[in-house]
Structure formats: structure tokens, C-alpha cells
Symmetry: C2
Subunit: 328 residues, 2 copies
């Protein structure tokens, strides 16, 4: 994106750092991670860390390693989530367990998670500051894993009485916590005071929630070429998205039954998926989700409205707009 | 065991601490972990931590939380290993993924791992000392996960040219590293100097290697009632144990083919498993493994021979003998 081209060299450093760490390890265990990380992705979390660091007057360099650790965590969750959700594709290529089997994929996720914790014990910071940063990471990581667990337990428990608030709390962990951490950690490393750190975390969390809702929307309205995941995959996986929650509250009994039936069956039939998408469209659930995401983007932007104007703040505001305009 | 009855109250505190930590969390995500941890197990790792702390003159109380963290890590690895190895039973009951499905079991392992790292950032120690302890944990955890990854990659890669040294290096990570950490961390918390800490780590690592070899032996010679895992499970899982490595080096071409055929097929047929066990017996591979384990136990005991005599040292020596005498 244009808006943050000024941090491109630092973003490259984040990627190079991740690669060099992995390439230094045993190929038998870490070999499949290097090409996985090279698949790319939006790198939105390290971008947020770098910009947040800059927005509070810090040096981008200082945020490179903390940002790399967060991006490694994100990739760890993708690997395990794809196993849990039985997802077929990731970034346009087979999910890791499709390519290497569940055992190796699962273990490589554990290896990545372990490696990033080791990095977190070795960052060159004063010990007291390092421990404060670690606690920030541990708390956010826990919210991410717990959020994923809540979503899985809804699916396994056959729960369809999920409320909008429960959905928002779940994505508040699964997706928003890590974007909040990306901003908060960048600000912390950049020397921000408590108030600025909290404002950036709130920006990141609202942005993250909007991001997830938009992701759910793209999952039913996108094209594989751009989105690079299977369209309707969330439906096959039985996900209780905001659109599903909304639709269940609007649809009549027969339609509710059809919707719950397809979600429970984990069907991959195009006919079933199209039926569900049709119901979500018919009841205005897609539109509702888009509006909810837009409102969260507004909230994100207001969180940092009082920050002094500079190119980092400008970029953060542009990213907020991008999150709901994106088609990939 | 008689030899460490003096630390029983502290061992109960370790168990209570683990339970109370888990019970404070969301039942949807952590609910299945409490009964899993209550299944028990030998608790050998916390025992080693408590005794090592005592052996260097420390207070047992100080080692309770560090010991609980290690036992939590151990349980995390069991959960993920059982998924990776497609194991059916754990401690006499269905493996977690057999009871709750792969997604919930996998996520609960991640939740446990995340929770213990959060504990590790919040231990009440001076920050510099805490970071030193964390690095010790991170390095050992990495060896465990890497060891498991190496074993998986042998199986996936169809490798049968594993040497005894490669096998020993693999279990040096998979099993020995965590027992070494249990001792080293206990000693560190107990205020040991570098030399005593290193000696206890070496004791723990030799003990751990002996423990793994004995575990492999019990897997083919034990009874389900005592061992509480499926007998011959390692054969179905295609594990390259020391016995298999030895047998492949002794058997003729037809027997080698039969052995490799069964291991590659992941057969659960009793006939296939009995054939392999027969070959291991015939070529003296079980006896060879027992001797190797006994020699490692001798090495473990020598590592702490110069420690001053006290009941903690006596217990550590008795545990070393127990490791190869146990039938469960």
C-alpha cells in the first residue's frame, strides 16, 4: 500500500529476520516453515507494529524483532487453525497439513511457537522491561488461543444460539487481540506512555474486529483468485459468523433449519453453500456485517484521532479504511 | 515411592496449583484439561524438580510453581503427540483426540502451552533471574519439540537407516531434555552454583534417556493393565526405537523386509505386531535396549555421586534405579 511505503525496508527486515531464524534450524523440523512464511500474506501485524512505534516517536528498527515475533505467532495460529478447521487452502496453496500431513504440520506449528517464545526470552531489553513486554504478549496470545477454542466448542457443541455479543467477544480474542498487541507492543518499544499505548491497542482491536468481519464477508462474496482461500469454506467449517448470527435472528423456521442443517453437516457441496449464501444475502446479513465492520473502522480511527499528525498516523488511518475496502 | 515420601505434600501442592490455574479459566476451552491432568501419571518431572531443589539446599516451596510449569508442558506434549502418533490410549483412558476430536484436543494443547508461558512471565523472581530461568525453559522446550519433529520426519520420510547415535540424539531432545530441565530448574531455584546445576542436568538427561528406552521396552513387553497404553502401539506408529535400530542391524534381509513392511504399514493387526516383537526378541534387541538403559542409569547416578548425602540425593539415586525396574 502507498500509505506505508516509507516503512517498506523495515518490513523487509522483519521478513528477513523470520527467514534467517528458521533457516538456522534443523531442516527436518523447520524446513517446511520457510516456504510457508514465504507465501507472504498481508503482513498487516508487523506493519501495525512498525507504524505504532513510529507514531509515538520511536525508531522503526527497535520494532523489527518484536514485530517478527508477532508475525511468527500469527503464522503458528494459521497452521494449527487450518488443521482444526480442516481448511484446504492457505494463501492460494494447499494448507500445510494437506501438503505434509497432520503430524508434521502440527509439530511444525509447535516448533514455530516454541522458537518465538525463545526469541521473546532473548530480546535485548532491560530485564524488567522485557518481562513487561512478555506479559503483554502472553496475555494477548492467550486471548487468541481461547477465542479459537470458544469457536471450536460452539461448532463441536452444535450451538446455534450464539448472540452478536458472544460473536464479538470471540473475535475479540481470535483476531482482535493480536492486532491490538501489534500496536501496543510497537508503541511500548517506541517509548509510548500508558495512555498512547492504550489508545493504539484500542485502535488495533477495533481494526482487528473489523478485519475479521470483512474476512467472513469475503469468504462468501470473494473470488478464489483474489482471496486465495476456498470460497464458502467458513460454511463448510460450520463457522458461526456475524452474518450467520444475524441471519438466524431474521429467517423463518424453515430457512433457519436449512441454514443450521448445512452448517452442521460440514458439507462441501456447491449447492448447499450457494443456498446458505443466498439466505445470507436475502436477509441482508452480508450488508449488516459490512455496516458493522464500517462502524468498527470508525471507532478505530477515533481512537487515534488526537495523535499528532505524521506519516505513521496517516498510514494507520488509511489502513483502517483499507480493511473494509479490501477484496483479498 | 518410599524414597521420596518426604516431598509428598509439595507434590500435592504442584497438582493443586495446576488444577486451580486451569479451573480459573473458561470451561469451554480448559474444561477438558482438568480431568486429563487428574488422570495422574508418574509426576516424575515435578518430583525431580523438588528433589533437585532440596539436594542443593533449597526450600521445596520455591520449586512448586516452576515444577508445575514443567508438568504442564509435559502434558501439553502428550496431547499433541497423541494426535501426531494417532495413539489410542493415554493413562488407561482414551487419548484426548479420541474423546473430543482433533480440533478441540489440538487447541486445548495450545491453550495449556500458552497458559504455562504466561505463568513463566509472572513468576515472582527478580527480572534478571526470571529471564535466565525462562531461557533455560525455552531452550529445553525447543529440544523436546525438535526431537518429536525429527522422529515424525523419519516416519514420514520412510527412513530406516537411523543409527544408534541418531536415535540417542532424538530422545535426547524428545524425552531427556525435559527431565534435564526439571533437575536444572529445581537446582537453579534452590540456589545451586553452575557446577551443581550442570551435574543435576546431566543426571536428569541420562535418566531421561534411560526412561525413554525403558518406555520403548515396556511398549512391547508390558501389559495394558500396568502400562496403560496400547501394547505394540509404537510398532503401529512406525517408531524407530533403539530395539528396531538394533534389530535392523542384526536381522537377515527377509526379516528386515518384514520388519520395515510392518512399521511402514502402520498396521494394528495383532499378528503383525507379534511378528515384530518376535523379531526383536529373537535378535536380542529387547535385551540390548535394557542393557543400554541400565548403562545410562549408571551414568546418571555417577553425575551426582559427589553430592553431599541427604534424603534428596538418596531419593534421586533410588529413582534412577526405579526407572529401569518399573513395569508401568
Amino acid at each position: 500500500m502507498e500509505s506505508y511505503s516509507h516503512i517498506t525496508p523495515y518490513l523487509r527486515s522483519v521478513e528477513q529476520l523470520m527467514e534467517s531464524r528458521l533457516e538456522a534450524e534443523d531442516k527436518m523440523v523447520y524446513g517446511l516453515l520457510v516456504p510457508f512464511l514465504r507465501r507472504g500474506g498481508k503482513r498487516i501485524r508487523p506493519v501495525l507494529s512498525l507504524l505504532s512505534c513510529g507514531a509515538v516517536g520511536g525508531q522503526y528498527e527497535a520494532a523489527i524483532e518484536p514485530a517478527a515475533i508477532i508475525e511468527m505467532f500469527h503464522n503458528f495460529t494459521l497452521i494449527h487453525d487450518d488443521i482444526e478447521d480442516d481448511s484446504q487452502f492457505r494463501r492460494g496453496e494447499p494448507a500445510l497439513q494437506m501438503a505434509y500431513g497432520v503430524p508434521m504440520a502440527l509439530n511444525s506449528g509447535d516448533a514455530l511457537y516454541t522458537l518465538l517464545w525463545r526469541e521473546l526470552t532473548k530480546l535485548k531489553l532491560r530485564p524488567a522491561k522485557l518481562v513487561a513486554l512478555q506479559t503483554m504478549y502472553a496475555d494477548a496470545f492467550k486471548r487468541v488461543v481461547d477465542g479459537q477454542g470458544v469457536e471450536l466448542s460452539w461448532i463441536r457443541g452444535g450451538r446455534f444460539d450464539v448472540s452478536e455479543d458472544e460473536y464479538l467477544a470471540m473475535i475479540g480474542g481470535k483476531t482482535a487481540a493480536l492486532m491490538g498487541l501489534s500496536c501496543e507492543a510497537g508503541a511500548f518499544i517506541g517509548g509510548a506512555g500508558k495512555r498512547a499505548g492504550k489508545a493504539l491497542r484500542q485502535y488495533g482491536e477495533s481494526l482487528g474486529a473489523a478485519f475479521q468481519i470483512q474476512d467472513d464477508v469475503l469468504n462468501v462474496t470473494g473470488s478464489f483468485e483474489k482471496y486465495q482461500k476456498e470460497i464458502g469454506g467458513d460454511i463448510s467449517e460450520g463457522k458461526r459468523t456475524l452474518m450467520v448470527v444475524h441471519c438466524l435472528s431474521k429467517a423463518g423456521e424453515a430457512e433457519r433449519k436449512r441454514l443450521m442443517g448445512v452448517l452442521s453437516s460440514h458439507s462441501r457441496k456447491q449447492e448447499d453453500i450457494n443456498d446458505v449464501i443466498g439466505l445470507l444475502q436475502k436477509h441482508g446479513s452480508v450488508e449488516y456485517a459490512r455496516k458493522r465492520a464500517a462502524s468498527l473502522v470508525g471507532k478505530a480511527k477515533r481512537s487515534i484521532a488526537r495523535f499528532p499528525d505524521n506519516k505513521d498516523k496517516t498510514a494507520l488511518l488509511a489502513i483502517a479504511d483499507y480493511v473494509i475496502k479490501r477484496d483479498r
